[in-house]
Amino acid sequence: MCLAVPGQIQSLVESPDGPSTARVIFGGMTMDVSLAFTPEAKVGDYVIVHAGCAIAMLHEAEALETLEAFRALGEGLARAEPS
């Protein structure tokens, strides 16, 4: 129930009455999701969806930075190891 999953916004769904909605694809499965809490989200963006609402956007720059930081950490230790 609580397992939020990342998906990509495929298209925006017309909803004249109420908060905007997007069609989001999760590895082949699509679902209509409320963008009430991520109004800035656009087609192509990745969002974390929970109980029918996008609760966060996934940011590419931070994802790359995290991977880089963790990778550097491993490399640093590898260099520090006695040969």
């Binding site: 129930m1 609580c2 397992l3 939020a4 990342p6 990509q8 009455d17 109420g18 908060p19 679902m31 409320s34 009430a36 809490f37 991520t38 109004p39 990745y46 974390i48 929970h50 109980a51 029918g52 609402c53 609760i55 966060a56 956007m57 996934l58 940011h59 590419e60 931070e62 994802a63 790359l64 930075e65 995290t66 991977l67 930081a69 963790f70 990778r71 950490l73 491993g74 490399e75 230790l77 590898a78 520090a80």
Partner: protein, 370 residues
């Protein structure tokens, strides 16, 4: 775009595992408070990659598991009320209240439906104006925004045959209660990444400072988990405390402001009993007076809630991190996912279910109980 696969790279997993082994000089105990993380840790065997002495405790990270049984009893009573459609998340339908569960209420003729979102319940209410549609709203701060938007839409669109039975819970007060427990033995927390996407890091900042412990906001993939564990252990090894964000691609310090704003408008903070943990001060939400017309407990005049009865199951000790699931004498014997004694075995996110699925059904008689 970076994908989940990038956060599962075996080479980076190996790097981080080695880094952790080199970083650690003495035993440490960490607790995660998120059922999704518990499952990832067990599914990928992350706990087995850690050096001896680094122990992971699985806290009360499954909202279905901590929903008080009196709430389930009320949902069952509403499900059996004529002209009512009772809706909730699928997991919630299988958890027993004091005597039975919502699926049994369906077998008795109640209209009980499993949904993915409270917004679906609102749609059913529009389609069935002749019925009263109730959504049994449970979950952490991750789910509360969806409940909040559903009820605010109901009010805005004047959909009067929709109401909520609210048992939403708040994670930070439960972490505080765990820290105040004399039996508590965690040195640091891995905080639930998705709760932090909504609430930000302010509440856990205060907690970390008050109790002088490290709390690391952590994601869900193997590399996220190992990175979070590394950061938490680094704080401990250096004798530091505070909050660190190891999941910055999703979590911003301030959290999700529109979601927090709507939560504040729709809900009031209350003291709430958590199943297995007892009363948690400021541990839950109820609908604020301005939404009282949508409160099922008022609409159906349910009266004051009863206290939960004691149970023989040790899920309370599992949720507090006092024992691991396989140290419970009932684990895998009288308690299985098919015949669960406690909610931690029922829910797909419960720690007992995770141990049963990924570690087999045998109890662990050789390991010492703490």
């Amino acid at each position: 775009m970076t994908t989940s696969r990038d956060f599962r790279q075996p080479a980076l997993v190996k790097h981080l595992t080695e880094a952790i082994a080199q970083r650690v000089t003495r035993p440490w105990t960490l607790m995660e408070v998120c059922g999704g993380q518990t499952h990832s840790l067990l599914r990928y065997g992350i706990d087995r990659l850690l050096p001896p002495g680094v122990e992971l405790l699985h806290g009360p990270g499954c909202p279905v598991c901590v929903t008080p049984s009196e709430g389930i009893d009320r949902a069952i009573a509403l499900a059996l009320t004529p002209k009512t459609i009772m809706t909730s998340f699928g997991d919630m339908l299988r958890v027993r209240g004091s005597t039975t569960d919502l699926l049994s209420a369906r077998a008795q003729g109640g209209d009980v439906r499993a949904l993915l979102s409270p917004l679906d319940a609102l749609r059913i209410a529009e389609e069935h104006p002749e019925k009263d549609v109730v959504f049994f709203a449970v979950g952490f701060e991750t789910t509360a925004p969806s409940t909040a938007i559903a009820v605010s839409e109901a009010k805005r669109r004047k959909i009067h045959n929709f109401s909520l039975l609210v048992r939403h819970v708040r994670v930070a007060p439960a972490m505080e209660a765990l820290l105040l427990d004399p039996l508590a033995r965690m040195d640091g927390f891995l905080a639930a990444g998705h709760v932090a996407t909504v609430m930000g890091t302010q509440a856990i900042d205060q907690l970390a400072n008050r109790h002088q412990i490290p709390i690391v906001v952590t994601g869900f993939e193997p590399i996220d988990l190992l990175g979070g564990i590394y950061q938490c252990l680094s704080y401990l090894e250096e004798g530091r405390y505070g909050v660190s964000n190891a999941y910055p691609r999703a979590v911003k310090e301030e959290g999700n402001i529109p979601a927090q704003t709507l939560i504040k408008e729709v809900f009031d903070v209350i003291d709430l009993p958590w199943r297995g943990l007892g009363l948690i001060p400021a541990g839950g939400y109820r609908l604020s007076p301005r939404y009282r017309d949508y409160d099922a407990e008022i609409r159906f005049s349910l009266g004051p809630a009863k206290e939960d009865a004691e149970s023989a199951c040790r899920s309370g000790d599992v949720l507090r991190g006092i024992i691991k699931p396989d140290l419970c004498p009932a684990f895998g014997t009288s308690c299985t996912p098919e015949h669960p004694l406690g909610a931690t075995m029922v829910s797909g996110e419960g720690a007992c279910a995770a141990y049963f699925h990924y570690r087999g059904s045998s109890p662990a008689p050789t390991r010492a109980s703490s």
